[in-house]
Amino acid sequence: MSDSSAAAAHPPGLAHHFESYEQQKHSSFLGMWLFLVQEVMFFGGLFVVYVTYRSLYGDAFAAGSRQLDVMIGAVNTTVLLISSFTMVIAVTAAKKGNRKWIVYGLLLTILFGGIFLGVKYFEYGAKWQHHLVPGPYFEWHGEGVGRPVEIFFCLYFAMTGMHALHMVVGIGIMLFMLRPAWRGKWTPQNHNFVEGFGLYWHFVDIVWIFLFPFLYLIGLATH
């Protein structure tokens, strides 16, 4: 984040156009939060589509939902929540300037994120085998008609896919963070990047907190 040209008069880690660490910190947090607001609306579009079709095709969505394995979903939710916690470890360590624990925190988060994605990978594979991937391969033999159930799976893949994509990006960024973290780039004065990234990771977690009941649980009570 340093700008070489104007760095002369400026303390390290403070970009040339900022007057103080304080200003830089507030700016980067506000920027990050606005980015997350943007993300809320982005996923929000999907949620609105979901809510619309859920109100149009209630039974079919329940039927589609029953095709998902609730246990896997619940375990994965747990894994993801734990990864949020390990992210907190990294951020707290960054505040203290404890570079060892920043790295451990990140590694743990990568680990749990990876487990989550691994499980998702097998879930997707199973859907493929059962012909539940929308499109020409889709086949529906359960109760209800195929079309609305297919829409459920369209949404299932769009929503979880978009979520997984965000996790892949997040894990990628964390891998890049390991080296600077180990080298002690982030200090108690300046660790905006770690904290900002933490916000991102927690946001991705929040998305899943909604996806889990919407996709996995809605069919449990009926039948």
Binding site: L34, V37, Q38, G135, R147
Partner: protein, 554 residues
């Protein structure tokens, strides 16, 4: 005629070192993080797309000269108006004022060295470029024929043009807007110079704050909607095609949730420009400053909950139609507040006849007509008849060309001396403003009549009884084209031959006028302090006018 008689102490020449000559070479431009240079990059890009979109418009008008569809094939015509709309909206008007002029002057106006995230700013231009390239790629392969609104299931199932490529192009370009919006909001919150309180901000800044809000809250919805369209098109995911179980009207909700607020992305910055120009050339604080400022915010907020007025006849429920109608009406109030406050600002002003001022007056008149006809469209009982006719086409060109584009040109003429350090010729600029005004009205006024007569839009051929009015419209468009070419020429001319402008050729109040023209690389020699109220014009001969706020000049 020189309009600058009061500029008593003309600078001997351009400042020795400024942002344009601070570094040289193509790389220094392509990798710049200087908001002023990025503004220039945007300026060049949007000008290109405006001309391209304009050429499409000319082709449309030529085809419509005769009732028979005799100039181009129907499919070609459909691509013409689609590409015209897509280029003009997404690649010209939405980025026009914010990304080009806003980028340049916002940090100057609030006394900052740069925007909060300079690299993000550059990234936004590259996003724009990538998006534009994808669209151009589709264009070279024949373009798209869905209309700029991409209604499903036509766009997802029936069109056999490069819908997905343009969709991805608009998707990527959307992030350019989001980045700009985030950048502006943080900049305005966090980068203000000492003393620059919220109610000392120029109204241009307020307008951009409101605009950025829309960009951040609205654009992502368009992005995800486009992803769904692409998924449906490429993988047969049935989100919107009824044959796949989807709901086509849902697409319209999602699309207009962004695209209606987007029209305020186009007009609010223009309104900001108008406030600046009117204050500067009437030498008077903007009347009802706070009301004008809050009107911007009001328009942005209310503007988000009126999108259903595009769906009155779409089979949206009657109940929803009525809700959207009444909410749409409410937007008229803050808009009216602005117009009336501008008029009150002129009252007892000291009005200078200058090119930016002519554009500003043109804006007020044409925006009013566009806005009032917008109200007719918002009136459900009338909209049923005129929906998707030329009445709508006339409405939005009045606002977008007569309003937003005039505001953009006004702003360009207003800040051109700041951007380049040079003036443009007075005579030619007055002339072109007049030609544009006349040509514009001749082009689009007949379309109101056509629309009420019932001529549907997006028609390649039309019944004969509509021809007379169409001829008028085409004639107007050719005058309009001439009007747009004139500034193109004299702006380029002025880069080399224009009179040196000096710091503050208009004698305007505002931090951006307190630094050299063109400004130095880091905007100000020393951090300015804003210890003055907005638009504080003080009596006195210009040479000894006590600009209390300008430390360096005092």
């Amino acid at each position: 005629m020189s309009t600058r008689e009061y500029d008593v102490a003309p600078d001997p020449g351009l400042p020795k070192s400024h942002y344009l000559n601070a570094a040289h070479g193509l790389k220094s431009w392509l990798l710049t993080t200087d908001h002023k240079r990025i503004g220039i990059l945007y300026l060049l890009s949007i000008t290109f797309f405006f001309l391209l979109g304009g050429i499409y418009a000319i082709a449309i008008r030529l085809e419509l000269l005769t009732p028979a569809g005799d100039m181009v094939q129907p499919d070609t015509y459909n691509r013409l108006f689609t590409m015209h709309g897509v280029l003009m909206i997404f690649f010209f008007l939405i980025p026009s004022i914010p990304a080009a002029l806003g980028n340049f002057v916002i940090p100057l106006m609030i006394g900052a060295k740069d925007v909060a995230f300079p690299k993000l700013n550059l990234a936004s231009w590259y996003m724009y470029l990538i998006g534009a390239s994808l669209t151009m790629w589709a264009l070279f392969h024949g373009g798209v024929d869905t209309g700029w609104t991409f209604y499903t299931p036509f766009s997802t199932t029936y069109s056999n043009t490069y819908v997905a490529a343009v969709a991805v192009g608009i998707f990527v370009n959307g992030f350019s807007g989001i980045f700009t919006g985030i950048n502006f909001m943080v900049t305005i919150h966090r980068m203000r110079a000492p003393g620059m309180t919220w109610f000392r901000l120029p109204l241009f800044i307020w307008a951009h704050y409101a605009t950025s809000l829309i960009m951040v809250l609205g654009t992502p919805v368009l992005a995800i909607t486009i992803v769904l369209v692409a998924l449906e098109r490429l993988l047969k995911f049935g989100f919107f095609d009824p044959a796949l179980g989807g709901d086509p009207v849902l697409f319209q909700h999602l699309f207009w949730f962004y695209s209606h607020p987007a029209v305020y992305i186009m007009i609010l910055p223009s309104m900001g420009v108008i406030s600046e120009i009117i204050a500067a050339f009437a030498r008077k604080p903007v009347f009802g400053y706070k009301f004008v400022a809050f009107a911007s915010m009001g328009i942005a907020v209310i503007g988000f909950i009126v999108w259903g007025h595009h769906l009155f006849v779409s089979s949206q429920s009657l109940y929803a139609g009525l809700i959207f109608s009444i909410l749409t009406m409410l937007v008229a109030v803050p808009s009216a507040v602005k117009v009336f406050n501008w008029m009150a600002t002129l009252y007892r002003g000291s009005i200078e006849y200058s090119t930016p001022m002519f554009y500003a007056l043109g804006f007020i008149g044409l925006f009013t007509i566009g806005g009032l006809t917008g109200l007719m469209l918002a009136t459900t009982g009338i909209d049923v008849h005129v929906h998707d006719t030329y009445f709508v086409v006339a409405h939005f060109h009045y606002i977008m060309v007569g309003g937003a584009l005039m505001g953009y040109l006004g702003g360009l003429h207003y800040w051109w001396p700041k951007i380049t350090g040079r003036m443009y010729p007075g005579f030619w600029s007055h002339l072109s403003a007049g030609v544009i005004f006349l040509g514009f009205n001749l082009t689009f006024f007949p379309q109101f009549i056509l629309g009420y007569l019932g001529m549907p839009r997006r028609y390649h051929a039309y019944p004969e009884e509509f021809q007379v009015l169409n001829i008028l419209s085409t004639a107007g468009a050719s005058i309009l084209a001439v009007g747009y070419v004139i500034p193109l020429v004299y702006f380029i001319w002025s880069l080399k031959y224009g009179e040196v402008a000096g710091k503050n050729p208009w004698g305007a109040v505002g931090l951006e006028w307190q630094t050299a023209s063109p400004p130095p690389e880091h905007n100000f020699e020393e951090i300015p302090e804003a210890d003055f109220e907005p638009y504080e014009y003080v009596e006195g001969p210009p040479s000894e006018r006590p600009y209390r706020y300008s430390r360096s000049e005092a």
